[in-house]
Amino acid sequence: MTPPPVPSLAEASTAIAAGTLSPVALCEQALARIAAIDPALDVFITLTADRARAAAAQAEAEIKAGRRRGPLHGIPYALKDIYDVAGLPTTAHSRVLVGRNAPVEDSDAAARLEAAGMVLLGKVATHEFARGGVRDDDLPFPRAKNPWNPAHFAGGSSSGSGAGVASGMMALAMGSDTGGSIRLPAAFSGCVGLKPTYGRLSRRGVVPLSFGMDHTGPLTRTVEDCALALQVLAGHDPADPGSADVPVGDYLTHLRDGVRGLRLGYARAYGIEGGIDAEMQAATDAAVEVLRGLGAEVVEVALPPLRRFEAAAWTIIHAESFAIHQQDLRTRPEAYGRTTRERIMLGAFVTGPHYVQAQRLRHALTREVDALFGEVDAILSAPAHGAAPLAAESDDGPWRRAQPITAAFNVTGHPALCLPAGIAANGLPLSLQIAGRAFAEAEVLRIGHAFEQATEWHTRRPPEAYA
């Protein structure tokens, strides 16, 4: 019999505090579930079972001795395999790094989660260098599968993080988001994903794709779990040049305050411009009505045209990722998967003036979206064109037929949360995106929590036949 999904962070925390759940037992449950279902889902690249058992035993001893470090002490988690952990390889899911990358220091995120007493289960699958596709068959590890239906795209690039959380292997996995890579796996795998404000979480010790567009952040089962994780992860890191020296918010105290009195903008036209399908449109419309019913005032708002966001986003991402990979692409291009190689090579076509113009456009777009937050407290939108497509039909070309519509908030840096908001006719999850003011993650989480608790979408689970 397959071991049950692990409890949420909040459930586990409460049970550990009450002494009704042992960190050792929780770790064994997670490892047993991974052993049972990972062969079908290919979430893990490096499973650190021995290390996890030792950490869980240590956590249990500390807690029994009255030295509980905080609410996450003794709870398992996983890292996208672009986060460094001292003594473990970081592969970025690529032959380019296999055998070449043995970090001696923890990434900032790993250091914070370890200090909080969390138990690392291992490193999980990603799209190669957070940029490749799902159909490359020349990678050193298999792609993570969608636990709702393994034939479908799990979303990317934090594919293992989304699939691992949604399938109940762990309650928290770290992802990264350069154009939507936390939010899309959350949307396609039916969990919660937060791209915090640019600079809110450190990127130190995380393999970069695009310095100016990369964000790190958590994927969790629930919005409350996301708040619990963010409380530990947020903070200024002088070693990250993009880190913001802004006081950390309180993400939990007002989580249950509801949305009455808030004014929310609905970027309905933006989704239509992005080409979302009828099911996603209906799910987003319905989500808006739920929030209106909870007492929020909802008005339609006009985001700047999608084309402007795309021109800025993809010029910057192409140029910066190519700058990082140019030497390896010159000398050993065969080490990359075909999709990754071709997508990063597009940076060869970016001119200096276009890169500068893209940065100027980014500044203008940030100002324009920031101005909207003078009128509304948050912006609601669809995060994807629809539910997860079949992996075999996923776009693996160098130039995508449709770019992720999530990238707008990578351009502007505003925080954006995705959470379950429906089930499509094919049985796969649909999602809602909530974006907020810079550094107003507490408000975004509060809105997300209100929506989550008013609906039952977060209680839906992938079929155990697949998970």
Partner: protein, 64 residues
């Protein structure tokens, strides 16, 4: 002109020091065309005051 685009494409690859396998050249050229079409918007003039943003300046979002 299409011929010019192809020359630009080959030149950019040469300057960057990278090669595209022959069987992928047409697809990469098509990607190059798509990228050039997308960034036409970047050729539009902007006011001098619009400076680059290496990172968003986000410390002071207004409140309603």
């Amino acid at each position: 002109m299409p011929e010019d685009l192809e020359l630009d494409f080959q030149s950019a690859l040469r300057v960057a020091g990278i090669t595209v396998p022959e069987d992928r050249t047409a697809i990469m050229l098509d990607a190059y065309r798509s990228y050039r079409a997308l960034v036409a918007i970047l050729d539009e003039p902007m006011p001098y005051a619009e400076e680059p943003a290496a990172a968003p300046r986000l410390a002071a979002s207004p409140r309603r």
